[in-house]
């Protein structure tokens, strides 16, 4: 009598001992999973988009202040520096001394006129009203303390207005964080629904191949062998569905990325052109898509395959416990 290997396995590649090509047919499951993968891709893209916008706002506008100095040419008060300085000069000097200020630049008169031209027309060159000087300040980080600068400026130039963009950026960041959370929940829900669909398919497959399972079980197949066969089949079908879904989502994600580029600091020009005129090179596409998406999209079929394998394996093993 020949010895018997303790761990059974079907050796021939593609050997379908349980008839799973009929038990888990390749018609419905891949398309259902493809739909789930498509939705998951959109949710993940939403997550990356919200993260990208949030980061851009925080790094850009979040670290900016706008300081308006009324009567910029009048002498400063309480000026501990050189006597006779104008209010604007005192404000700039104070800003230069303030910790956390990376740069402070007074807008030249012609630049200020350009800003007003849409409203005042040519009168912007010589406005009838006295205009404040405007100083664009960039802080070292979004979290830099602006209160100290505000106090110091008021002391040398009373009436100076400091507009902190960070307040708005903070609110937008909260909104973006909420969007990210919603996208993550949507992705998890889609994964759960995909797992449920695969579990139902595995149950239907078990019901359809019950006699074959009982015969193979009676011949000495282990639960791991039988469940593994189902899991491999489900994994292949789910992975195929994931690939279809991710591929279908790619053109839509690219379009959204191009449209969102100006808001995220990417290819601004591309975003300002009509879609019909867009002729993106591979390099452009690589730039407008958030980097994480290039990892997540290929990972989608792998995740679908893993969900398929784990779900089918556990579902079938649970059923097999009914057999002696």
């Amino acid at each position: 009598m020949r010895t018997v290997s303790p761990r059974p396995r079907g050796r021939r590649a593609g050997f379908d001992g349980l008839g799973l090509r009929r038990g888990l047919p390749d018609r419905m499951l891949p398309f259902l999973v493809a739909a789930m993968a498509f939705l998951a891709a959109l949710a993940i893209a939403g997550w990356f988009g919200a993260a990208s916008l949030s980061r851009h706002w925080r790094d850009g506008a979040g670290s900016a202040l706008t300081v308006q100095v009324p009567d910029p040419d009048l002498p400063a008060v309480n000026d501990a520096g050189a006597a006779g300085r104008t209010r604007l000069a005192a404000v700039l000097a104070e800003l230069a001394r303030t910790p956390g200020v990376a740069s402070a630049r007074a807008l030249p008169r012609d630049e200020l006129a350009n800003l007003l031209r849409p409203w005042l027309g040519e009168a912007a060159e010589q406005p009838a009203l006295p205009l404040p000087a405007v100083v664009a300040v960039r802080m070292a980080g979004a979290d830099a303390d602006t209160a100290r600068a505000r106090t110091a400026l008021s002391s040398v130039a009373p009436g100076t207005l400091v507009e902190d963009h960070g307040v708005w950026v903070g609110r937008l960041s909260v909104l973006a964080a909420s969007l990210r959370a919603c996208a993550a929940i949507a992705a998890v829900m889609v994964a759960a629904v995909a797992a449920a669909v695969i579990a139902v398919a595995a149950r239907a497959g078990v019901a359809a191949r019950r006699e074959a399972i009982e015969i193979v079980h009676g011949l000495g197949a282990t639960d791991a062998y039988i469940a593994g066969r189902f899991a491999r089949r489900a994994s292949w079908l789910a992975g195929l569905g994931g690939l279809l879904g991710a591929t279908a989502a790619l053109p839509m994600l690219l379009t959204l990325a191009v449209l969102a580029a100006p808001f995220a600091g990417g290819q601004g020009q591309a975003g300002q052109q009509p879609m019909a005129e867009l002729a993106l090179s591979a390099g452009d596409i690589a730039r407008v898509m958030p980097g994480g998406l290039w990892v997540m999209l290929p990972a989608l079929p792998l995740c679908a395959a893993a969900i398929g394998y784990i779900t089918a394996y556990t579902t079938v093993r649970r059923w097999l416990r009914r057999l002696p």
Binding site: V216, G220, A221, R322
Partner: protein
């Protein structure tokens, strides 16, 4: 060695299932099972390794149920059952597949896998045992030649006659040279010549050390090959010897 000690068997049925000795035809298959009426009562006997036994009795006596216990399609509801030297009533479930691979069986209804060619049906026990493919090919080809189906290796079971399917089932049962060979009416679909060849195969395997138990109604076959018998009636063992 096979030993039954006060063994009783009740089939477990899923809710609303019909209970048969060939299994349960449950409606859903996922609900919790419940115990049915006892079909075997207080079975006591011992078969030393390497013996041949007929299993005789009228229809409904419990022959198929006894065989189901012996190929581990069921575990006893009570009593102690030792198969091939292992206490299977208390053995962990994960230990049973290895025992099943040492048991060959021939069903009355063949129980071939309809989607597989007969070559793959016969090869299945060897594949489950992890044998190399070239050895499987040689062994299966030789055995299918012996049962007269060398030219039908690619045929599906549905393309074969009842007798041919029976021969495939027999080939599958013996391909792995089991320690215990069980057969339920194995000659029911065979002509006399094939039945005699089958009996010679059983006797040859028995001579090589395989324990063989054959359940049959065929009195003529038993008369031609007289031997010790287990006799059942109404789920009770009424004779052994």
């Amino acid at each position: 060695m096979i030993r039954f000690e006060s063994v009783g068997l009740s089939y477990q049925a899923a809710g609303g299932a019909r209970v048969t000795p060939h299994g349960t035809s449950s409606r859903g298959g996922w609900s919790e099972p419940r115990a049915g009426p006892e079909v075997l009562h207080d079975i006591d006997f011992t078969l030393p390794a390497g013996v041949f036994r007929w299993l005789l009795g009228p229809s409904g006596a419990g022959k198929t149920s006894l065989l189901r216990l012996m190929y581990l399609a069921e575990r006893p509801s009570r009593g102690r059952l030792t198969l091939l030297g292992i206490r299977v009533d208390t053995a962990p479930r994960k230990a049973l597949p290895a025992i099943r691979r040492r048991i060959g069986f021939v069903f009355q209804d063949f129980r071939l896998l309809p989607h597989l060619p007969i070559f793959d049906n016969v090869a299945l026990p060897l594949r489950l045992a992890g044998r190399p493919e070239d050895q499987i090919r040689a062994d299966v080809t030789e055995l299918l030649g012996w049962v007269g189906l060398a030219r039908r290796t690619g045929a599906r079971p549905a393309e074969l006659s009842g007798g041919e399917q029976q021969r495939v089932a027999i080939a599958r049962a013996v391909i792995a040279r089991p320690n215990l060979l069980l057969a339920d009416e194995p000659t029911g679909n065979l002509d006399d010549t094939q039945a005699e060849r089958l009996m010679r195969l059983f006797q040859e395997l028995n001579r090589l050390g395989t324990t063989v138990v054959v359940a049959t109604h065929n009195e003529a076959l038993v008369a031609r090959h007289p031997g010790a018998a287990l006799r059942l009636d109404h789920g009770r063992l009424t004779g052994h010897g």
